[in-house]
Every structure is written in structure tokens, then in C-alpha cells.
Amino acid sequence: MRILNIFILSVIIILGALNKAEGQAQQSNASFQPLPGTTFRWRLLGFDEEKKKYQVEMVFLNTTDSIFVFNYVIGTNRAEELLGRVTLRPRGQSMFGWLFSGNRITNIGATMVDIQAPPKKLQRSEPMQQ
């Protein structure tokens, strides 16, 4: 009886883990690190029946306290290219999207244009003047 209970529990745990993993896979199809301190994630949102193209959501994330300005080029499995320039705030992100014939981002290249130091924090030693 105990073995049966352990077996059922194991099955539930494994199925739960698989389900969670599948859910995560749907949430984010893939991620890249185009530059040190940045992450690029993308996912398919759906298919535009009218334009016969895939809607792809893309996000650049900044994991540092610096301001990044860089140019990017994104490629798909249908050899499409998307160009752009993005500015990322400290710990910030930039969302954008596009319609692609391809359904997978295969490569991403980035060229750093500028790195700025993080903005100084406000000094609060003295009360503010009204």
C-alpha cells in the first residue's frame, strides 16, 4: 500500500513538473545574451491570418545598473532581418514586436554604442525645502 502511495505521489510530482516545464516553454521560447549584462527573450504570440505571418514578441533586458545603448540585428529561420537601436535603462527592459514569415529567431547580433554610468542616487541627508 505504501509503495502504491509513493508511486501515485511520484506520478503526480513528475506530471506536475512536466506541466510546469511545458508552461514555461510556451511562455518563453528561447533566450539569448547578445551583450554582457543583457538578455534577449522572444516568444510567438500567434499567427496573423490576414498577413499570413507570425506575431513575435521580443524583449531586451538589462541586468546591470548601467544604461546601455546598442544597435541590433535579429534573424529568423526564413532569413529575415530586423534592425533597430534600443536604449536600456538600469535593470530596465524594452519590448517590441514584429511580423515574421519564419516562426523562430535563429540569431541575434548586437553592437554596443554607448554605456553610461548609473545615475547618482538622491542625497536625502537634508530635508527638502518647501
Binding site: 506575431q55 514578441e57 541590433y72 530586423l82 533597430g84 519590448m95 517590441f96 514586436g97 511580423l99
Partner: protein, 634 residues
């Protein structure tokens, strides 16, 4: 006795001529106020001054006794000299019905803004009605939709065209049955001429002019029900027909249920022949008590079932759910539109003037003067009185979700019982009591009112007139019911073909409405937005950005206005600003779930233009890309 008749004749002449004066003054004065509360009678305001003058002169000419005596006398003599067999009458009426159908279709309403035609058509494109739907109590008008959808499928025509054709056929059927009813009445030819004018001049007849909504068939059904009701009180066995028409009518549109008290009265009146105990139930005192009890029940339902006395959010869902107008409205004046606000009471009166025939109004006017001559206990008067009371109570209390001006079609069903009450009253008041001169005066004045009232049919066929009328009623709606007024104004301005004039008119309208605006004002936001769109289409980006900005001041949640400002920033080559705005937008609108992919695509466009600028692309190439973006939006 002779002196009494002379006195009646004198009073009748005076009352009728005063009515003519009031009608001419009302239509004449209101023609100078296209944006006023007089939207039920200011039809002449949308005609040219020459046409206004012609219409007023025609009305006065038709109403003046020496002239009316001539043409009505001739018509009376001509009709009296005709004697047709029953078959000939049917053939003539059939031909009139066919011609009426053709006229209604030929001169159909040019706009689909009246009522909720657009929503109806999109609803029908997404749902196929079947027989089981006819028995679904939650569906308020399944039979009407089933019939129209079936007609569209059988004849392979567009859904909208099916509605237009059936609406016109409804007009033909109305003519056929109403004229047959009038012909069969016991009475003089003069009285019947008056009744024909009464039937033809009601503003509710707009329903027959290719109107795309669910009210035409139920209106025809209610007319047939009321004809059967008249026949019942003449001693004919039409109760079964009335019950069948009632059941069919309720499935055509639920508003038919307002005739239930009248039907109940008819049933009790009919049963009293079989059992005397029913007699006491239709005594006026008990009837009055019954009506009072029903009003108390309705009041309790208003407070405790619908919770309609107070609106909390005042959004579309709450207004739809609570059905009736509130006693308290969260909006400030002049948008404080409640059950007893002056604006609403005025709108109810205008709705009555718009949809009910001026002949019926004239009869009601004369009844006030000669109320002692009316036997109010007559069963027919009680039957039609009950029908009028419940319809008018509904019109008074219901929340017209599209504004009273647009929802005239839903509220026009009340015109049918009002018309029949006027027939019953005129039967008591005039029949066999008037001399030819009195008939000429009364009918002449009735015709004068009818001519002015029927101008609405002409207005509906002319784009320019409809556009101006929408603009006028939209401005009044902004100052009263408020919600949905900007839509009326925008459609009205959209009918102006010259874009520059459209912009100038739009700017003027906003300036006119500003003193009455709230802060924030969502209706005004829509007007600003429309102005922005017009100017963007004319590539006047700076001016467009001003209007979009003002729109956002009034409605900060407007996604389209925000994105429009981003597009303008791109066209003005302020790529960094555009990028910042769209990033802010996407972070608030598209997180954690993407609900607006256009926002993301626009962000990529901003990134792309920033990239082009950063790599030193020449100005001409950037402009080419911007032009492509302007044309395609991508």
C-alpha cells in the same frame, strides 16, 4: 340645442386655429435652433431658407379655411361618389401597398446610425438563428432576426439589404391593413380622410423606410393587434387573433409585452358576456386600482430588482444591466441626466412629437378643451388608454443607451397605441357632429401639421441634411444625455465631403461645447481624437498632435491617441521621444499579457528609425521610409 352646437363650432374653430398657430410657430421658431432641445420638431432647420419658407407657406395655405374647404370638399365629393365592389377595394389596396413598398424602398434612410444597425449586423454575422432560439426567453427579439436571416439566406442577399427590403414591405403591409381598417369603419368620408392623414404622417413610419433594426415587424404586429382590438369592441370575435398576434409580437420584440394589460382588459371585457363576475373587474375604479398596483410593483422592481435608482460606475455594462434611468447620476451638470431631470423630460416630449402624428396630437389637444364630451368609460377608450399608458411609462423610464435621439426607433412603438387612442377619441369627439366647414378646418389644420412633420422623411434621404441633423442632435445630446453624443457629432461631421470644412466645423463644435465640458470629458476626448485623425490624414502633424494631446488630457487611457502621438513624433523625426512614449505605453498596456500587438510593432518601428539615424542614413532615404510608414502604417 342649436346654440350649444354653435358654441361648440365656435370653440372648435378657435381651438383648431390656435393649434395651427402653435404648430407653425413651433416648427418655424425651432428651425432657427438646430442644436436645441427641440430636436423632435426642428426638421426645417436642416433645409435651405427658401425650402423652409416654402414648407411653412404650404402648411399655412393648406390649413387656412377658404382653401382647405375647396380641396377637401372636392376630395370628399370625389370619394363619396365612388362605389367599389369588395374585390375592387382589395385590388386597389393591394396596388397601394405595392406602390407604398416601392416608395419606402426608393426613399430609404440614407444612414445606418439610427438605432443600433451596425451592432445588429455584426451580431447577425456571428450567429445563425434557428427554431429553438425562438423559445429562448433570454433572447428579446429572436423571431425578427430569424425572419431576416432566413430571407437573406433564401434570396442570397446581404443581411442589410434583407432588413431594408422587409422594412419597406412592412410599410406596404401597414398601408394595406390600415387603409382597409379605415375603409371598414362606420363613419363619414371626412372623418376617414382625417384618419388617413393621421396614419400616414406619424414619424414612427420612418421604420418603414428601409430602417435596419428590429422594430419594424413588431410595429406592424402591434398595429394589427390594435386593429383587432378595435374590431373586438365593435362586437367581432377577434380575441383569438389578438392573443396570437400578442404571442408572435412578444417574440418579434419583447417590448410588445407592454400591450399585456390592454390584452388582459380585452379578455376580461370579452369574458363578461359569459360570466357577470368579470364585469366588476373592468369597472373604472378597479381598473384604476389595478393600474396603481402595477405601478407600485414596477416601482419596487425599479428599486429592489433592477437597483436602477443609483448608478455607481455609469459605464455601458451598468446602464445595460439596470435598464432604467437612475434617480441619481454620478456625472455633473449639464450631463446630470436622470429620470426627473429637465433634459430627460424634454427629450420624452420631443420623442413624442417626433414619432406621433401631429393629427393625433391635435386630437389630444382638442380633448383637453372638450374633455366633457368624451365618454372616458367607453371600453375602447380604456383599452387604448391602457396601451398608451404603459408604453409612455416605459418611454419615460427606460435608459436610452444610444441617446434618446438615436433610439427613436425603440421608443417609436408607443406611437401605435397613441394613434389608435386618437382614432377612438376623434370618433367620439367629431363623428356625426361636425359640419362640412368644421371638417374642412380640422382636416386642413391636420394636413398642415402633417406636411411639416413629414419633412423628416425627406431629411433622412439626403446626406447633407442627415449630417447637419446629426450634428445638431449630437450637440444637444452632449448637453443632456451625454454618453454617445460624440459619436453622433463625429458621424454628422463625417458627412461633410470637403475635408477642410470638416476640420473647420469640428474645431468650431469643440469650442461651442467647451463651456459645458467636464474634466476629464470622455466625449470631448473622442471629438479631439477625430480632429487629430483628420489633421493627420492631411499631414498637418503639429496641429494633429495638439488635438491628440487634448484628447489624452481628457482620456488618459486612450491607446489610439497615444499611438497616434508616437506616429506623429516619428513623422517629425523626434525618434527618441517616440521611442520613450511607446516604451511607456507597452509597459503599461502589454504587461504581463500582450493585448495590443500594434504597440509592440510600433516600438520596433521607432527602434528602426533610431537605427537609421544612428548609422548616418541620408535624409531622403529616411523620408522615403517615413512616407512608406505613413502610407501603410508599418
Amino acid at each position: 340645442m342649436e346654440s350649444v352646437n354653435e358654441q361648440f363650432s365656435h370653440q372648435l374653430h378657435r381651438s383648431v386655429l390656435i393649434f395651427l398657430g402653435v404648430v407653425i410657430a413651433l416648427y418655424g421658431i425651432s428651425s432657427f435652433f438646430p442644436n436645441s432641445f427641440l430636436w423632435g420638431v426642428n426638421h426645417l432647420a436642416f433645409l435651405s431658407p427658401v425650402h423652409r419658407l416654402i414648407m411653412l407657406t404650404a402648411a399655412i395655405t393648406l390649413g387656412v379655411l377658404p382653401i382647405s374647404r375647396r380641396y377637401l370638399g372636392a376630395l370628399d365629393r370625389w370619394l363619396s361618389s365612388r362605389s367599389l365592389t369588395r374585390m375592387e377595394v382589395y385590388i386597389v389596396l393591394f396596388v397601394i401597398g405595392v406602390i407604398g413598398t416601392f416608395i419606402c424602398y426608393r426613399f430609404r434612410i440614407i444612414t445606418d446610425l439610427y438605432g443600433d444597425s451596425r451592432t445588429l449586423l455584426s451580431l447577425l454575422s456571428g450567429k445563425v438563428y434557428a427554431i429553438p432560439d425562438l423559445f429562448n426567453p433570454k433572447d428579446t427579439e429572436p423571431l425578427t432576426r430569424y425572419i431576416h436571416q432566413m430571407a437573406a439566406n433564401v434570396f442570397h442577399i446581404d443581411q442589410k439589404v434583407a432588413y431594408e427590403i422587409i422594412s419597406a414591405i412592412g410599410g406596404g403591409l401597414f398601408l394595406l391593413f390600415y387603409l382597409l381598417f379605415v375603409l371598414r369603419l362606420e363613419g363619414s368620408v371626412s372623418w376617414k380622410i382625417l384618419l388617413v392623414i393621421l396614419g400616414l404622417s406619424g414619424g414612427a413610419n420612418q421604420l418603414f423606410f428601409g430602417h435596419v433594426e428590429d422594430y419594424t415587424l413588431v410595429y406592424v404586429c402591434s398595429i394589427l393587434f390594435l386593429i383587432a382590438g378595435w374590431q373586438l369592441f365593435e362586437g367581432n370575435a377577434t380575441l383569438g387573433t389578438m392573443i396570437v398576434l400578442f404571442v408572435v409580437g412578444v417574440r418579434l420584440h419583447v417590448q410588445m409585452v407592454l400591450l399585456a394589460p390592454a390584452l388582459l382588459y380585452a379578455v376580461l371585457h370579452h369574458r363578461r358576456r359569459l360570466s357577470p363576475k368579470f364585469e366588476r373587474w373592468i369597472e373604472p375604479k378597479r381598473l384604476f386600482a389595478g393600474v396603481a398596483l402595477s405601478v407600485v410593483c414596477a416601482t419596487l422592481a425599479y428599486f429592489f430588482y433592477f437597483h436602477a435608482d443609483r448608478y455607481l460606475v455609469n459605464d455601458q455594462a451598468e446602464r445595460f444591466q439596470k435598464v432604467f434611468l437612475p434617480l441619481v447620476n454620478p456625472l455633473p451638470p449639464p450631463h446630470y441626466y436622470t429620470l426627473f431631470s429637465i433634459g430627460h423630460l424634454s427629450d420624452v416630449a420631443q420623442e413624442f412629437l417626433l414619432t406621433v402624428s401631429p393629427v393625433a396630437i391635435m386630437v389630444l389637444w382638442l380633448v383637453i378643451k372638450f374633455y366633457r364630451r368624451v365618454d372616458w368609460r367607453q371600453p375602447r377608450i380604456m383599452f387604448f388608454g391602457l396601451a398608451v399608458f404603459y408604453f409612455q411609462l416605459f418611454n419615460l423610464t427606460v435608459n436610452p443607451l444610444l441617446t434618446m435621439e438615436r433610439d427613436w426607433d425603440m421608443l417609436s412603438l408607443a406611437a401605435a397605441p397613441a394613434m389608435f387612442l386618437a382614432i377612438a377619441l376623434s370618433h367620439q369627439l367629431f363623428e356625426k357632429k361636425l359640419s362640412s366647414a368644421e371638417w374642412a378646418t380640422t382636416t386642413g389644420v391636420a394636413l398642415a401639421g402633417a406636411v411639416l412633420s413629414c419633412t423628416i422623411f425627406y431629411l433622412n434621404t439626403t446626406e447633407q441634411c442627415v449630417g447637419s441633423r446629426f450634428l445638431g442632435i449630437g450637440k444637444w445630446a452632449f448637453r443632456s444625455y451625454y454618453q454617445g453624443s460624440s459619436y453622433l457629432i463625429n458621424v454628422g461631421e463625417g458627412m461633410i465631403s470637403d475635408k477642410d470644412e470638416q476640420i473647420a466645423r469640428g474645431d468650431k463644435t469643440i469650442r461651442e461645447l467647451l463651456p459645458d465640458a467636464s474634466m476629464p470629458d470622455f466625449e470631448l476626448a473622442n471629438l479631439y481624437h477625430k480632429m487629430g485623425n483628420l489633421l493627420y490624414a492631411r499631414k498637418q502633424f503639429i496641429r494633429a498632435s495638439y488635438y491628440y494631446g487634448k484628447g489624452l488630457d481628457n482620456d488618459q487611457s486612450s491607446a489610439t491617441a497615444t499611438k497616434a502621438i508616437v506616429r506623429i513624433a516619428l513623422q517629425l523625426r523626434q525618434f527618441d521621444d517616440a521611442s520613450r512614449i511607446i516604451s511607456y505605453y507597452n509597459e503599461s498596456a502589454n504587461q504581463p499579457t500582450v493585448i495590443d500587438f500594434d504597440g509592440l510593432a510600433l516600438a520596433q518601428r521607432c527602434n528602426y528609425f533610431r537605427y537609421l539615424q544612428s548609422i548616418g542614413t541620408d535624409s531622403a532615404s529616411i523620408q522615403k521610409e517615413l512616407d512608406h510608414f505613413y502610407e501603410t502604417g508599418q
